[in-house]
Amino acid sequence: MNAASAKTFHRIPLGGGATLLAKRRSALPSVAVAAFVRGGTAYETEESNGVNAFTHRAMIKGTTSRTSGEIARESELFGATIVPAYGADFSGISFQTLARFLDPAFEVFADLLAHPAFPAAVVESERSLLLADIVQEEDEPFQKTSREFQRALFGADPYGLPGIGTAGSVRNLRREQLIAWHERFYRAENLLFVVVGDFDEASVVARARALLEALSDAHPRGASRGRIADSAPAPPPAVTFESLASPREVVLERDVNQDVLLIGFPGPAARHEDAYPLQVLSAVMSGMGNRLFVALRDREGLCYYTGMYYRPLARAGVIGAYIGTSPEKEDRARAALDREFARLLDDGVGADEVVRAQNALIGHAAIGRQTNGAEASLAARYELLGLGFEEADRYEERVLAVTPDQILGAARRWLRPDRRVLAVTRPKRGPG
């Protein structure tokens, strides 16, 4: 490892509740920068659905002093593509570039965060693009099935809402709502900056502080039509799993060559004690040479892809298994997936399987953390979840602590038949 590189992040308070996580890695002259807020689709309602994505996509397309074209040309001249991220719990803006371009690229980035103008023409153009994306999803069987699966899984909870909104909600969103959304979430006490790579820490700290000042000048506390409270936005209420206790099936009929089938359950939140056992369980079930792959692909030739995942969110999680298979094989694939779940709930997992899954997870984490961008996202995620970036450094220890009993317990708690959700896209079936 390079001597000039730091082993871990350094947490720097910026004032007003904002934080900067910094990690120096100087082997390459590149740098990744991100700003995140706690805020996302989970804070929306059916009516405002899509406002978070809309706001973030429009934020990078016009400030009080730069047009969309100027932002694009200037940032790309400095080797940066500034991209928005809009998730269920967290959102933000990030870029990567060469170390020598960090200062001028950061200047554009700061302008987008502090002074987005949401020009009316940009809002209308972005609305059309969002509506086009919503229609396009109808043409992408896996995305569409996943979307409907998530809807069915979470019922009326905002976790079930599609991130990009629906045609109905996006058509009705107003420019003022985007401005208000930005004001509500982009506040010092709700902001986290992350920088990884080859940079000068003092200079980045100074630039981030200047950005915060610009932000507070733009949105003075307590002012601005009295909409802004003096504290970070309250998180949405906890997911009430009891309301989800009934099995559901969603069938989408499309003229597809291959069925897409998802079976799953609502799962625990990222900070739940079952989170690591479920991650290890997913690794036992999926990946080449593991349970689903061997049973469904190697032995029966039912599919090209199949797997299981656990996606932890801030207030709940998603446990899912998926397969793409020919329409005439769907019944066999369903039966095989059900059989694997039943086997798991009856017999649990073997100690050797757990050791192998632990090795895989730990190795894959090292492979996945090579890029500055990945390192920044990972640290930000743990920090925003309230676990602290240190959780990334404890990952190996956490994974190794998981036992077969914990996995069986977690599986029985969460893979409950009364909460099972199935979503499938398939061609229309003939009578009989």
Binding site: Q136, N290, R297, D298
Partner: protein
């Protein structure tokens, strides 16, 4: 910034390339073979890709699936990719598992059994993979295959990598094995190792793992090349889609030509990134499309560059006209100095960011080997830096005229018959 390459050609003809990189405790071992769909004759269509699947279905020492499991148990990732010109097999592992990577891969490449029963089971897996692509309307899915069969009439690029289902169902084992044995010879391959290992150690491990791979004559690489195109080609493909997927493709020469780098600058200015002309003018200002990207397939004899766009059918005519207007800006006048600087800065930045992972480094080196010169991977910034505004104008004129274009439109069935875009009717080609 990057350490020099260590290269060696083993006595059996295998090229070994090592990039020592100690940034992270991971290593990748990536074997590149010059075999792909373009090398197939009609008796083995789709089996370059099929062979890639069969390499993990068992050897004398390892049962079916054991190779993948061994790598995973060691914390590693194993996968492979088949293209028109190459197939590559990579295993990326934490440093401590480096020997597992060499052992598993060398065993699979040299000793795969291609057991008849395993082969039969795998046929349906490969067909499922093809079905998955057919349900993807953009990118390298359904419309890619249709565009390639339109843009190429003579060259083997006209055929899909996945092959026809019938060939996957019925090609006998003997034909598959004979094809493999002809193409999988050490003189036709390169082993690229990148990551946390000393070059000398990597070379020694490579020799131990692959030194016994039996030498054999390197197969002939002569393949038909597509003749010049004189008139625009158009095909409408109705399907069960809600949006309209448009691909516009232009063919060019070998990847190793300097022109290719000028084309990369041109397509960046035209359609890559939010500052590109199509993005700013056609997408943001005129609202003629909702998505644009550039796909490319660059080979040692010929190449193609494809604009991949999502739109609605009523915008098709102005969209095609608009794309040609954008190209004309770079064909009829010089790009500005700032345009050129922006494109180059971004390309060099992407090259540097690709050095962050061992996989991307090995991929660039293996790809360059397959195109005939492994040093091209490291010379990328220097060659891009040498491209001038005149170069960009020249390639826009030489390769990107409308008569040289092939257009594929995948549209909703309900639209009925879709006619050639007006721009093509006006300028079909030389009379």
């Amino acid at each position: 910034m990057t350490r020099p390459l260590a290269t060696r050609i083993l006595p059996n003809g295998l090229t070994v390339v090592v990039r020592e990189d100690r940034k992270a405790p991971v290593v990748t071992v990536n074997l590149w073979v010059r075999v792909g769909a373009n090398h197939e004759d009609d008796s083995v269509l789709g089996w370059s890709h099929g062979i890639e699947h069969l390499m993990f279905k068992g050897t004398a020492r390892r049962g079916p699936g054991v190779a993948a499991r061994e790598v995973r148990d060691a914390g590693g990732v194993l996968n492979a990719g088949t293209g028109y010109e190459t197939t590559n097999y990579y295993i990326t592992v934490p440093t401590r598992s480096l020997r597992v990577a060499f052992n598993v891969q060398a065993d699979a490449i040299q000793n795969s059994a291609f057991d008849e029963a395993e082969l039969d089971r795998e046929r349906s897996v490969i067909i499922e993979e093809n079905r998955m692509y057919r349900d993807q309307p953009s990118g390298f899915g359904h419309t890619w295959e249709k565009l390639m069969s339109l843009a190429f009439e003579v060259s083997n690029y006209r055929r899909p990598i996945g092959g026809p289902d019938e060939s996957l169902r019925t090609t006998p084992r003997d034909a598959i094995v004979a094809y493999r044995d002809r193409r999988y010879v050490p003189g036709n391959a390169a082993l690229v190792i990148a990551g946390d290992v000393a070059a000398a150690e990597a070379l020694a491990l490579a020799e131990a793992a692959y030194g016994g791979w039996r030498a054999a004559p390197v197969p002939d690489a002569a393949l038909p090349v597509e003749p010049a195109q004189r008139a625009a080609r158009f095909r409408a493909a109705p399907g069960p889609v809600a949006k309209c997927y448009v691909k516009m493709g232009w063919r060019a020469g070998p990847e190793t030509d300097r022109d290719t780098y000028a084309i990369l600058v041109l397509v960046r200015l035209l359609a890559r990134g939010r500052s590109s002309w199509i993005h700013q003018e056609l997408l943001e200002k005129r609202g003629l499309l909702s998505e644009v990207s550039v796909l490319q397939e660059t080979g040692s004899r010929e190449s193609i560059f494809v604009l991949d766009m999502v739109t609605d059918l009523d915008a098709l005519d102005p969209l095609v006209l608009g794309v040609d207007e954008g190209i004309a800006r770079f064909r009829d006048a010089l790009a500005t100095e700032e345009d050129l600087e922006r494109a180059k800065n971004f390309m060099v930045r992407s090259h540097v960011l690709a050095q962050e992972t061992v996989d991307a480094q090995a991929h660039a080196l293996g790809h360059a080997f397959a195109r005939g010169d492994v040093t091209l991977a490291d010379r990328y910034p220097e060659i891009v830096g040498s491209i001038t505004r005149d170069d960009v104008r020249r390639v826009a004129g030489a390769f990107f005229d409308l008569p040289q274009c092939s257009i594929l439109v995948h549209h909703p069935e309900a639209a009925g018959r879709v006619e050639r875009p007006a721009a093509l009717v006006r300028r079909p080609g030389p009379s």
